[in-house]
Structure formats: C-alpha cells, structure tokens
Symmetry: C2
C-alpha cells in the first residue's frame, strides 16, 4: 500500500508520501514515491504515485525521458510543458502508454492496471494547481471547496482532513495536518510506513520551499505523534460520559 | 454501507450500529441492524449485521425461528443455546443455510454473498464474549489484547479505537469512544447514517443495562460531536509548526 496526500491552500501546496511498498506482507521495501521536478524561477512540479510500482516507475521514467507528441513531432517532457494542465495531460498520456505496453499482459495474469498519481505545482505564468490523475489517464483538480486530494490508503487519514483543512489555512499548518493524517494512517495500516517524504511549494515561489525526508525517530515528528495521541486522549476524556442509563428505550 | 462496532471491556460490552442501508446512492433507507435478544437473568445477546440486507435479515429470522439440528433432531434457536460459543456457531450455521438457499442465484447475478456479523453477550453460567462471524460462517473472538471488533465501513473510525480502547476502560467510556468512532465514520462516508442504535451489557448483569436509539439532533450526541470537533481543532493548533525551512534536503 501507499498513502499520499496533497493539500492546496491559498499560500501554497504541500505534498506528502510514505515510502513503503509491499508485495504481500512478507515482502516490504522502501521506495521513494514523491518526485520533485524543479527548475527554480521557471517551474516546480511534484508527482506522488500510488499503485503498482512497476507502472508508476515507468510513468515517471516516461515523463522524464519524454513522449513523442504525434501532432507536433516534438518530444514532450515534464520539463517543457507550457502549463500545469498540459503537464497533467502528459502524465495521463504516460499512464496510457504504459497501459498500452504492459496492460494486456497484466490482464492475462489477472492483475489490475492499478495506478494513481497526484501532480501539483506551478509553471511560470500559470497558477499553482493540484491534480489527481487516474489509471485511465483522466484527472480532476483540487479547488478551494475541497483543497486536498489523496491516493492510496486514504480512509484512515481522511477524518482529520475533512474536519480541519481549509483553503485559507497557513501553509506550514497544512503540512502539520498532512503529517497528522499520515500518522493516523501508519498506525492503522502496516502497508504505509516511514520514512515520509514531503515537499512544500509556496505560491509564485517557483521552487520548493522545503523538500525533506522524515526518518523514523526524527524529533519533530516523534513529538507530533506524542502530542496528537495525548491530545486525543484528553479530548475524549473531557467529553462527559453518555447519560443513557438502564432501560431507556 | 454500514458501520458496527463491538467493544468488550472488563466491566461489560458495548454494541453500536448505524441504520443506513443503500442500494446505490439514490436509494437509501433506514433499517435496524442491531438486534437484542434478552431474557433477563438467563441471557442477553446482541447481534449487529453488515452486508447484503436480504442475507442478514434472513439470518436473523433463522436464528429466531430456529434451525433443525440434524444430530439431535432439536430446533436450535438463539434462545436455547447453552453457551455463547454455541450461539456463534448457530449464527454461522444460519449464514451457511442462507448461502445454501440464496448463494447460487446470487452468484448467477454476479452478486457476492456479502455478510458479516458481530455477536456479543452472555448466557447464565458462561462468560461475556464478543464474536465476529464471517460470510463463511466461521468466527473470531475479541480478547483483552484487541477488545474491539468492527464490521462494515471500519476504516474511518478505527484510528480512535486503535489509540484509545483498552480492556480496563470504564464501560460507559467505551460507549463514548464507540460513538466518537461512529461520528468519524458518518462524517466521511455517506453510506453510514443516523439514527444510531446501541446496547450496553454489564458483565454478569444478564440483561441490557441500556438499549437506546440516538436520533439526529439528540443533545448528548450533538454535544459529543461538537466537543470532539473543537478538541481536534485545538489539538492540532497546539502542536508546533513543522521546523522544516527552505531547502533542507
């Protein structure tokens, strides 16, 4: 499994991804799932991936090496797209290309073509945007109404986002919420694990304001986990006991 | 969808179930999924159901009306089993009987035989026990190590249980935690909805200490939701901002 979340607030974008992959419970490994493509002053794109690792790595290789555009004859790469929308289309085309190459054999083996991606970032002259690209190569975009998107094992970490994430939230507070969401997921699902990669992109910064790997035992994250646990404990202890006595119904 | 949770603590048992059923998003209805079988002083059993409503209703009818026992020639019902273990076996047999009757046609229609149940309670002379019965009719039991079991849409409401539920927790605090878990699930999944049924069974009480339906807008539950939201907000606000500045990696 995997858990990745992207949060788009007024001030910028946060992308967070775990690094655990597993082929069965007895075969787990660490792979980077958060990719940052940065040409300071020109563009910064972050691409987080979930699903079949062979598919997602091929997609990342394709968008990096480039895909020939049959209409223009040019080679399209993540580095030369004129807009975020075009970049999301490129990721979608790369997914379809991998499907064309590997899909039939996967289907013969009864394996689903399972992949999804979050693409967020900004290109000079355009807006900061966040997309979720599906296995069919189509995509949706986060908006001020729903400023976060998740891929992978999304359910455990969704309640805190549903309650707390707002578009006008501070950028680094959004990172904090994303880390809490990741913590909740890791506690309940063994398929999501440390270390955690994240990137913070400030709107119009055209570069990554922070890009970091949180290793197990890192003091801030350890403290966040402890504080969150303690606060949850206190929160439910502070709620009065239910008043439902014997035989009410 | 459905969400049901059973929590077994030293002092007793809590069973909670929502009441929403849906056949597609445009066809939702309210059905009771928590059944209480009570003969005060002799036995109290609670049965919560998830999955295909036709299957689960048939199972409840079968265990109430009885199934003939081919070995003894007697009619076994939920009212005459000598132990909780035997009662769980009876629920399993009822599930298999419904599978025998309806399974082949469901398979022809490409519908999965989808059902799961929580059975908790106590019979005079025996222990208070909590079981989860699967669609195959087999079952597992909650223990002091893992004192809660869930069926249906379990992921959203699991983090709070994973963190907070302990076997030595007060019985009515366990109910409170279960209601918080239900609230988290209802906020994130439209397929789980009010009203909420619950039952509280005190160990060796041989009767339901409380059995109640919480309707939308009921003051205690409304207050619990508000307090929990406010506490979560405060909890994440109180955690310091991440210290990850520009370009650390």
């Amino acid at each position: 499994m995997t858990y990745c979340v992207g949060i788009l607030v007024r001030d910028g974008l946060v992308m967070i991804a775990d690094t655990r992959t597993n082929a069965g419970l007895d075969n787990i490994a660490t792979f980077r799932k958060l990719n940052v493509f940065e040409k300071p002053g020109d563009r910064v794109l972050t691409l987080a991936t979930a699903g079949n690792l062979a598919i997602s790595q091929s997609v990342v290789s394709l968008v990096t090496e480039g895909i020939e555009n049959p209409e223009t004859g040019e080679t399209d790469t993540i580095w030369n797209q004129p807009s975020m929308f075009r970049s999301a289309q490129l990721v979608g085309r790369a997914i379809r290309e991998v499907y064309r190459l590997d899909g039939p054999m996967l289907e013969k083996k009864n394996l689903t073509f399972d992949v999804s991606m979050l693409l967020g970032g900004q290109i000079k002259g355009g807006r900061l945007r966040l997309f979720m690209v599906y296995a069919a190569g189509n995509f949706i975009e986060a908006t001020a109404d729903t400023p976060y998107l998740q891929i992978g094992e999304h359910k455990y970490g969704k309640p805190i986002l549903d309650r707390a994430v707002k578009y006008d939230y501070d950028l680094h507070d959004a990172l904090k919420l994303g880390l809490i969401s990741m913590d909740s997921t890791m506690r309940s699902n063994l398929g999501v694990g440390m270390p955690i990669d994240f990137a913070v992109v400030r709107r119009d910064g055209l570069g990554a304001e922070a890009s970091h790997r949180i290793e197990a035992g890192e003091p801030y994250f350890h403290d966040l986990r402890e504080r969150w646990s303690a606060a949850l404990r206190k929160a439910h202890q502070d709620i009065p006991r239910p008043p439902y006595g014997p035989r009410e119904s």
